[in-house]
């Protein structure tokens, strides 16, 4: 991910910290490399594949809702050393919206780095207080009959939304269904839309 060059004093501080952890036997170069590789590899494509599988495989759907961590491990994603993954099932009557008001907790193992807007003070403050207003600004209109449940990721879990499978996707392959899903759909600020699907 493109980012600003880190300040030299921050790099120096980081190197000292890593050195101290290695000296005390708390961290090895191999562990650090493995963690870096896993972090760089994580992207919303993983969460998208999991949701697409849940849309086509009722048994997997049940496992995903019951134990997100185990379901992620079925996809070869190790959550060792990471917080457990919880999955929030949307229905026609209930829409979930994920926010972290206290910081920027985000299900990184299945969605990668959190987007800037997710970490912004404005999103964090407003999503809990005026979810329908925030969603409207994303162009996401939730019908009055559908309740909104804002999930504030305050502690030891990380949460991903399992959206409702859109109508008109009957017979689609898992791969094609996954193209309907990105970070926005998987934290609930947007609903999967057929317009953004790629051709089969």
């Amino acid at each position: 991910m493109a980012a600003r060059e880190p300040a030299p004093e921050h790099v120096a501080l980081l190197e000292k910290l890593i050195g101290a952890l290695k000296t005390r036997g708390i961290l090895t170069e191999e562990q650090l490399a493995a963690k870096k590789a896993a972090t760089e590899k994580a992207s919303p494509e993983t969460g998208a594949r999991m949701v697409a599988r849940a849309w086509t495989d009722p048994a997997f759907r049940q496992r995903l809702i019951t134990d997100g961590t185990a379901a992620a491990e079925e996809f070869g994603i190790s959550l060792a050393g990471n917080p457990p993954l919880g999955v929030l099932e949307d229905t026609a009557e209930l829409h979930h919206l994920v926010v972290c008001t206290l910081c920027s907790c985000y299900p990184r193992v299945v969605l990668g780095f959190p987007p800037h807007w997710y970490k912004s003070a404005a999103y964090r403050a407003r999503a809990v207080r005026d979810p329908r207003g925030v969603l409207a600004e994303w162009g996401t209109m939730i019908p009055a009959g559908t309740q909104i449940r804002v999930v504030d990721s305050t502690a030891d879990y990380r949460w991903m939304v399992l959206p409702v499978r859109p109508e008109g996707t009957e017979g689609w392959s898992e791969e094609r269904l996954a193209t309907l899903l990105g970070a926005e759909e998987l934290v609930g600020v947007a609903l999967p839309k057929l317009a953004q699907a790629k051709a089969a």
């Binding site: 206290l102 979810p131 329908r132 909104i148 804002v150 502690a155 030891d156």
Partner: protein, 97 residues
């Protein structure tokens, strides 16, 4: 460790401000302090982050998903909309009746 509160229990979040007394890594948002909610389910036990982040002994505490109605919290919003927050057991008290 077994949860003190079963799913469906009515609880009230303590209206405490321990951050004024000591340094701790609090995971209890201000907007739910003093508010009444309903336990959706127990999420398991985790080392208490209030102490863990400051390298103090951090015994495990039971964590819950607690559901709050939007309107009483903010005095605005749509009826039926809710907030779901992860809260530790030592922040919760039972609501009688």
């Amino acid at each position: 460790m077994s949860p003190r509160y079963a799913a469906g229990s009515k609880v009230v979040v303590k209206n405490n401000r321990p951050e004024t007394l000591m340094r701790l890594h609090l995971r209890t948002p201000h907007y739910v302090r003093g508010r009444q909610g309903t336990v959706l389910r127990a999420l398991g036990s985790f080392p208490n982050p209030e102490d863990l982040a400051f390298n103090r002994p951090a015994p495990e505490k039971m964590l819950y998903h607690v559901l709050f109605e939007q309107q009483p919290v903010w005095n605005e919003g749509e009826a039926g909309d809710t907030l779901l927050v992860e809260l530790f057991e030592h922040w919760l008290e039972p609501v009688e009746g």
